[in-house]
Symmetry: C2
Subunit: 450 residues, 2 copies
């Protein structure tokens, strides 16, 4: 029932391509879902992939192209004429069409639009191109079923029959007035169970959640999740129904957002994948490593300032990676919890309560970890005063690290900056420096070295 | 058009509760969406929340209870009698009903089930309780519309009218045979545009993607995303249609998975939130901190082994936090990219290619970072040979760290272990130890201290 991409299928397809067995190839591919064909194309070399795209008709290839990886799609589109791309666009739903057009160079884009055959389709796509990609307008499609509140059930069914011809799946029947203002939705239940002469006005459900075209895409995702919506209508400033967003597009927004936070926490800027080039990966990774390096050089300076400790307490220097690790780990934990909490709107209570909580938490963790250090000292024959000093300094480092990890994201968020940048290397680097300074400073106070 | 939770609304509601103005309260709440009411309840104290739940009728409260935070729901359910819970369950769709029942203690669960009034509903729920929560069976609901392939369009509309009474939204009309085997789906288009005497057999679409009841929930999420499905039918071993999964439930799976990976990378076991208790947070965080501490104590040992370097090259010890930071950051970057790649199935090519790529990438990054260290050495008056030694050791550390970060998750994944555990503290800790050892070892080879 389900397709599994195997090496045999790929080998078979390559053999067909090499032998130019077009009939066999078409027959094999026509039975597959376009998402599966897109997956196969990613396994072929570019000439082979292009051969298949040229072989199949645009009704099939349009969806395949929309499913391809952005890099592959870019190369495929470069190999097609404007006329050919326009034919693909003609087959696509408006939202996918607009997304693909947005990937083309400006001049090419205009050439393609000029050659789209279906005038209404072209008009709809042009409208979508106006909107920012990160907004509800940029996510929505124009394909939807709307009926006028003044129609009867009978007229409604007749008109829907017309409209439905173009769409495969209908999720919601929207009800609008003569000005195209969104009034509500009509359930299939009402449509099926009401007499054909009843006006829609009397049976539609006016409770409907909608978003404005300029609503932020992440906000759309939150609303759809909160109200468990599969589809949401989009309205303009005059509350006219202009499109709808289906949840599959929103799932991509949710995943992208989660991926971005994850990459940020791991010290990777930009959206990179395991299969990107060494150059793309370097650009995404090197800046954070340089930040970490500068932090490390900062700690070199700090330790030079405390180098008199080398005379009597050289072991202090053996503990610096441990202190840095603790400061880093605690900071990352605290910031990750806050960043997730902010994303899900469940960071409640006053800053003061949060401060007390973090300090309490750090005390518990710090004391347990301190006891382990003291035990380690006993086993390895360290001076007791020295072990206690290390435990105590570490405890202070952990408290400060937790506070930095908690409050830096909160402060960034209050200033409208994405708090996720305060996770990962940013927090580990700053905590390394603070941690090492604090560690030596407290040790100096207790042990009194000069 | 959209609800915004304000302090005014909360204050107003608390005032109504205190003054026992039940009519005003009901009127205000009836206009709100159940998800909004659930949000309001989270802002109230427990007695106030319970007051509202007892006030409203079960048709409304059932959905509210299903939307509450698990902790709040647990307390609410404890305050309701088995009979009252059974009434709520009666109003819920089967999947939500089963989820709530699963949260009850075993004995309570049986009491509640025995008191569900609608026999068919109870039977459906009992069936769902059989399935593992992480499988398609555990995600699906029994509410769906199915028509027999042998019916005519007319009979089909009549039967649907019956079935549709119970459901608000219809996404797909499934077609089954006399044995309840899933045959395909019927589009609204065909239903609207075909003569009433046509048998369903002639107009249904046999292309339909389904999942088995025992399919893993993450696999279901992948399939629905790949094929852009809003709903997917679930079949049993005999290919009989037994339920359907809508995408809103799958969105939760996707988010949970992303959250889990993120928390794993940040060194947090278990699913915790910013508002959990100090004790819950400690249990989730302390184990990873202990791991980090043990790693740090390991580096103390390593440095003690190289302490002869203190005589002539004490600055080496100032550089250990820098080396640890580089090893940690590089390791986390590499592992994060691989873990994401494995989750999205886009880690392709042979291990050998990946090895070359990581080494190439590390060489580029390492050389740039090494140049910065040499420049730092010149500015701060370090011996040139010494600066070069540090750069070279750091380069080796970066290469090894990248390899560990890349291959540990790949190997874990091949052995069927979740590669996400190899991110965060695990990789930083092991890379700290390897890094510091390698750093001193190479420095010793070059500088030749005894």
């Amino acid at each position: 029932m389900q397709f599994e991409l195997t090496q045999e299928i790929v080998t078979q397809i390559i053999a067909y391509i090499n032998d130019k067995k077009d009939n066999e190839l078409s027959k094999l591919l026509t039975e597959l879902h376009y998402a599966d064909i897109a997956e196969i194309l990613e396994e072929l070399n570019f000439e082979e992939a292009l051969y298949i795209i040229k072989l199949l008709d645009s009704e099939q290839t349009a969806d395949i192209i929309a499913e391809l990886d952005e890099d592959t799609r870019e190369k495929v589109l470069e190999s097609l004429s404007s006329k050919e791309i326009a034919e693909e666009i003609d087959e696509l739903e408006t939202d996918d069409a607009a997304d693909i057009l947005n990937e083309l160079p400006e001049e090419r884009k205009e050439e393609v639009i000029a050659q789209i055959e279906d005038y209404d389709h072209a008009k709809d796509i042009l409208e979508l191109l106006k909107y920012d990609e990160d907004t509800a307008g940029g996510l929505m499609s124009k394909e939807l079923i709307a009926v006028n509140e003044n129609w009867t059930v009978m007229r409604c069914v007749r008109e829907m029959r017309e409209q439905a011809k173009e769409f495969d799946r209908v999720h919601t029947i929207y009800v609008i007035d003569d000005n195209e203002t969104l009034k509500g939705r009509l359930s299939l239940k009402s449509l099926l169970t009401t007499s054909t002469k009843t006006p829609i006005k009397e049976i539609y459900n006016p409770k409907i959640t909608s978003v404005k075209t300029n609503e932020d895409d992440e906000e759309v995702a939150k609303i759809m999740q909160k109200y468990d919506l599969v589809v949401i209508p989009v309205i303009d400033e005059l509350e006219r129904l202009v499109g709808q967003i289906t949840i599959d597009d929103v799932v991509d927004v949710i995943r992208d957002e989660a991926d971005k936070d994850y990459q940020m926490a791991a010290g990777i800027t930009q959206d990179v994948e395991a299969d990107d080039t060494v150059w793309e990966l370097t650009r995404a990774r090197l800046p954070w490593l340089i930040l970490g390096l500068l932090g490390g050089l900062g700690s070199v300076f700090i330790m030079e300032g405390f180098d008199e400790a080398l005379n009597n307490y050289k072991e202090l220097f053996f503990f610096t990676p441990l202190i840095a690790a603790m400061a880093g780990n605690v900071g990352v934990q605290s910031s990750a919890i806050i960043v997730q909490g902010l994303a899900n709107d469940n960071v409640k209570g006053s800053l003061w309560e949060r401060l007390l909580k973090e300090v309490g938490l750090s005390l518990i963790n710090g004391i347990v970890l301190g006891i382990i250090v003291v035990l380690f000292g006993i086993v390895t024959g360290l001076d007791n005063k020295f072990s206690l000093t290390i435990s105590l300094s570490m405890l202070c480092v952990i408290i400060v690290a937790a506070l930095i990890g908690t409050f830096v994201p909160i402060i960034l968020n209050k200033r409208g900056i994405d708090p996720a940048i305060a996770t990962g290397p940013f927090i580990t680097t700053s905590n390394d420096i603070f941690g090492i300074f604090l560690f030596f400073y407290i040790a100096k106070l207790i042990l009194g070295f000069h």
